[in-house]
Each structure stands twice: as structure tokens, then as C-alpha cells.
Symmetry: C2
């Protein structure tokens, strides 16, 4: 400690320079210890490492990024962090990112355009290497602007008609189809589709699949009702339940197919709490098969989506896009699967 280090002012955090000074080596050597330790002799390396420890040195990632031009970080902008579907997708992304030694930041757009935009701008400024996003609107020009400015972006659980991005989806039309085929098989001839807003592609496509199956079964067009909700939430499901209960008895459906599990669970709760029996009075099919579906008031029949696989596949597409100069955009589509439980089987 006889050699004082005047450069080490009070408030500042130690930098490589301070480490170099203390270890009596040059800046470059410290950097080598950090990045190519094999090129440094054992003794020197040890001295430098001790200096780092003594000083409590923490590498400044901003400076590194500035110099390197890349951050080894991905980000996933979730549509709704409180929806288990998306947290499972995030988990799949996270595991894939971890395997590739990438950090992952999670952001939540809360289904708000403004919030999504703010996150995207910030991530771009942070120079993340790539962005995964479940966008509020997959056709929004803001997305192509991101890639145009050099940040690769893959769309998760949605797709963009232009094919300008990689995307991973689950075949929603097929999901709607299997749900309704199941209900038709069980003998239902009057069914409601509950979901919204129909500005969401999935809400529309699940309906289209449902409609196709319905028509193919030769059932009356008007016997497949449509109940529009304002969001895909538990609360909206409850409200939808009340609306169904308000229908004249004979026009009431014997089964509902919900655009997601949250709606189904909300509706289920409303239905059960008013003393109706599921599935005797009303059969219910959900969508997503979140963990709570199996544990619900009545275990819920649901269309399962491979959530983690979806996330992992998205991450891998992004990794390819970042690293492989010959990358071609791909639209990967997974297949959903009906999990039949008590809510339709009785």
C-alpha cells in the first residue's frame, strides 16, 4: 500500500486501468486476462486476478459493448406477463438462450402499443443482438423498422403476412377445428365460441377452424354462436358467462369453446357459482392448457400448445439469423393437441 494510487478517486468504480496499475501491468494485459487467459503467463494472470478481487472490479458492459458492437443479449417482449402461457414460452426461450450463452431480458408490453414501442426503442438503443416479440399487432410497421435498422426480430405465437420475419406459431385453425370436432363428437348441436377482440389473429383463426369443422359436420350455420369479449382474460370470461346466462333458455348453447383458458376458467367459475353443472348443463373447452386448466373447478378440456418448444424454436431461429449469414426467414408452425378432461366428458 506504499504506492498510493491517486487515480483511484473516491466515488469512481475501479476500471481495467486501476486494475492494471495495481497489478503493475498494462491495460492490454488485463483485457487479455479477461478474454484470452491462455495468452497470459500464470504468474501475471494470478497477479491481475488478485488485483481485480482486491479492488472489487466489475467489468463495464457498456464500454465493452460500445467497443464490440454486440451485446450477447436477447430480449423477449411479452404480450402479457401475467398470462401463464407467455411465461412458459419465456421459459423455453430462456433455456435455449442459456444454452447458447446469451443473456435474456424479459419485457412486458401489457398488450399496450405505447409500452411495446417504448420497450422496442429502448432495446434497440441497448443494441441487443436480437428481439423476440409477441406483438400487439404483427403487421405494425414499427416491426419492420426494427429489422431495417439492423436488429433481427422474430415473431412468437403470431405471424406476419409479408414473410419478412421468422415466426413460430401453433396452427390455430387446426386447434379450433379439433376443439369443435370434439364437441360435435360428443353430440353437441348448439355451441358458442367465446373470445375477442377479433382484431387478434388467433381469435379469428381459432374461430375459422371451429367454423370449418362445424360446417363440415353439416350443422346449421346459425347454431355456432359467437360471443365477443374485450380481452382474453379471466374477468372477461366471467362476464361472458353472465351474458350466456342472460340468453333465453332455448337459444342457450350446450357447449362453449373459449379462445383461451383464462376465459374458459372465468366462465367456468361463473357457471359453477350459479349452480349449473359442467359438463351436464354446459360443456367447456379451453385453449392453451395452462397448468391451472387441469386443476380447475372442473378439470378443463383444452387445446394444448407446445409452449416451451415454441419459445425454444423461436430462440433458435433468432440465433441462426444472428450468426448465419445465409439465414433464410422461416415460418415454423407447431401442431396443437386436444386434451380431453371432465369439462366435456362428464
Amino acid at each position: 500500500m506504499s504506492k498510493s494510487s491517486p487515480a483511484l478517486r473516491q466515488g469512481r468504480r475501479p476500471s481495467v486501468k486501476d486494475v492494471a496499475e495495481r497489478a503493475q501491468v498494462s491495460l492490454g494485459t488485463v483485457s487479455n486476462v479477461l478474454n484470452r487467459p491462455d495468452r497470459v503467463s500464470a504468474g501475471t494472470r494470478e497477479r491481475v486476478e488478485r488485483a481485480m478481487a482486491d479492488l472489487g472490479f466489475v467489468l463495464n458492459e457498456s464500454a465493452r459493448q460500445l467497443r464490440m458492437g454486440r451485446s450477447n443479449t436477447f430480449a423477449y417482449v411479452m404480450l402479457d406477463a401475467t398470462n401463464p402461457f407467455f411465461t412458459d414460452v419465456a421459459r423455453g426461450i430462456e433455456l435455449a438462450a442459456e444454452k447458447a450463452d446469451l443473456s435474456l431480458f424479459l419485457c412486458n408490453s401489457d398488450a399496450r402499443d405505447a409500452r411495446e414501442g417504448a420497450h422496442l426503442a429502448h432495446l434497440q438503443q441497448q443494441r441487443v443482438d436480437g428481439i423476440l416479440i409477441t406483438p400487439v399487432d404483427p403487421e405494425a410497421p414499427a416491426l419492420s423498422r426494427i429489422t431495417a435498422q439492423g436488429t433481427p426480430l422474430v415473431i412468437v405465437d403470431r405471424t406476419n403476412a409479408t414473410g419478412a420475419f421468422c415466426s413460430v406459431t401453433v396452427d390455430d385453425r387446426l386447434g379450433g377445428r379439433v376443439a369443435v370436432e370434439h364437441l360435435v363428437d360428443r353430440g353437441h348441436t348448439r355451441v358458442a365460441y367465446v373470445g375477442g377482440p377479433s382484431s387478434l389473429g388467433q381469435v379469428r383463426e381459432r374461430y375459422e377452424g371451429a367454423r370449418a369443422a362445424w360446417d363440415e359436420a353439416g350443422l346449421a350455420e346459425s347454431d355456432l354462436l359467437r360471443v365477443e369479449t374485450e380481452a382474453l382474460s379471466f374477468e372477461e370470461g366471467r362476464l361472458a358467462g353472465e351474458r350466456l346466462a342472460g340468453l333465453p333458455r332455448r337459444s342457450r348453447p350446450s357447449a362453449v369453446f373459449c379462445a383461451n383458458d383464462l376465459i374458459a376458467l372465468g366462465l367456468l367459475q361463473q357457471v359453477v357459482s350459479t349452480g349449473q353443472r359442467v359438463p351436464e348443463d354446459l360443456a367447456i373447452v379451453g385453449y392453451d392448457d395452462i397448468a391451472f386448466a387441469a386443476g380447475a373447478a372442473v378439470p378443463l378440456t383444452s387445446v394444448r400448445q407446445p409452449r416451451q418448444a415454441l419459445g425454444a424454436a423461436a430462440a433458435e431461429l433468432l440465433i441462426d439469423e444472428v450468426n448465419n449469414p445465409e439465414h433464410q426467414h422461416q415460418q415454423v408452425e407447431f401442431t396443437p393437441e386436444l386434451i380431453a378432461r371432465v369439462s366435456t366428458l362428464g
Copy 2:
């Protein structure tokens, strides 16, 4: 376009320098447009803004941070992103951060030490202004190392005995107490506490509260059972249900108090699926009052924690710690509230 800009090499992203060149002003002026637009004349400002738009300029946050020494970013390291309790807390943090014009990054430690450590190291290197964390172990020396190296840190939903950090918690002892008082009021004289691992402070404290209420009610010590689980998960709840079912009939409790809702829901499902009635055969109290508690097989009595308020309070403590030089560490404690539903009322 007659004036070509040779500095604008192909692969590079435009920098302020390129913008300056194109707008025929100096670097400093571009920066002023960005940060103090009022000091720039309207004409110049417009020219610069047009140049930015033309070039697709995106500010390099790394460089800014390097220069400024701060990032205007907080991060929340969640213990388990798939647990709705934490996503609600995150939401509270997020709203508070948004109000203070701070960005928020979410990380998920997945209750793994190694993952938590990796996230913390990375965040420190990113020079986030502050970290919120629900740690795997609130006494881990890694946490004090973070603050020692200059990044303020507040502990969420846990507390550290040394008082070296700000923390926000909910009074778990009280929560355990009200849960058991409720069961005692309903006439139960043999109750099981289900939760674990007891290395978790909350699992212990909820038990202590339960125990205190039990003893004060003058009930036999041995009639408050303890069923230890390996985690606070749905699956563990189901397993606990099987263990209870395996007990000889007369030593079986008439009610259980679960350390969280996931356990309670898992247990509930197991119980219901084996044909027992809730609450007639077994009453159940959960903890957290997550959204699904109300919608469960039998609407679940649960101890509600003010989740968003918890997050918001944590964020505010951190904001104070970052901005206020006279900041004093505080341990804020919220009060839980029993929400009685069918699972105990019948």
C-alpha cells in the same frame, strides 16, 4: 445527395457524427437536439431531425451510459416467473418504474443459485441503477457484495436480518395466524400445515404464526401437524394430498393450511379427484390469493397479500436509495388479509 458521405461505410449504423455531417452541423448540436432541444434554433433542429430520420439513426445507449455513468434502468430478478404471485409483484414494480421514467428488465432466477448469480453479475456489468430481487437466500453474501460494489439493491418479499438492505415484506407470521384463527373459529381441532422447504423464511414464519394461534387457542400441540414439501408448487401440493390420504383415518386432519396457493390448488385437485368433498371432508386455506384461487375447483379461502403494492413500494424504496443521498434503509411490512371462500365455509 451530391455531397457523398464517405464516412458512411456499408455495415455500420449511423452515429451522431453521420447525422451531424448530413445536417451540416457539429456533433455537439446533434447532441443538443437530442437532450436539450430548447437550446437549438427551430431551423437547425428541423434539419437535424430530418437527417436522423433519413439515416435511420438509433442512439447508442452503450455509449450514452458509458459517458453518463447511469442507465436509468432497474431490474427485477424474480424467483419464479411462472408463479402468478411474482408476476403481480413485477407488475407493481413496472408501473412504479414507468411512472419514474425508468426502464425495467425482468430476469428469472428459477430459484436456482447459479442462475441468480449469473443474472446479478450481468446486471452489475450492465450498470443498472438498481436491483430488486426476491433472492433464493436473503442472507447470501453475494447480495452484500453487490451493494458494496455500488449497486443499490432492495429485497422483495423477503428480508435480511442485518438490515443492510431496504426490504418489503408481508407479515407472514400474522398471515399464518389469521389463517389458523379462521380454522379454529370454524371448529377445527386437527389441522395440517403443508409447505416447504422450511429453509424458506416464509414457510417457517407462516408456520410460527399458525403455531402461535394454535397454542393460544389452547389446542393440543400435537394436533397441529406439519407436512413438509420439497417446493411450493402445484405438483408438490398433489403429492401432499396423497400423503394425507395415506394417513390412518383417525389421525387425518379436518383442515389444512397451505404455505401458498399453488400447493393448495394441487392438494385441492388431488382431494377432489378422489371423491372427497371440500370443505366437508377437508377444509383448505391457501396463501397469496392469486387470481386462480377464486376460480379453483372450490373457490379457495386464502391469505391475500397486497402484491402490486408490495412491488410498487419496493420500487419506490429503490428510487429513494438511488436519488436521495440521505437515504436510510427501511424494512417495510405490509399486512395480509384473510379472504374466506367456499373451501372453508361450505
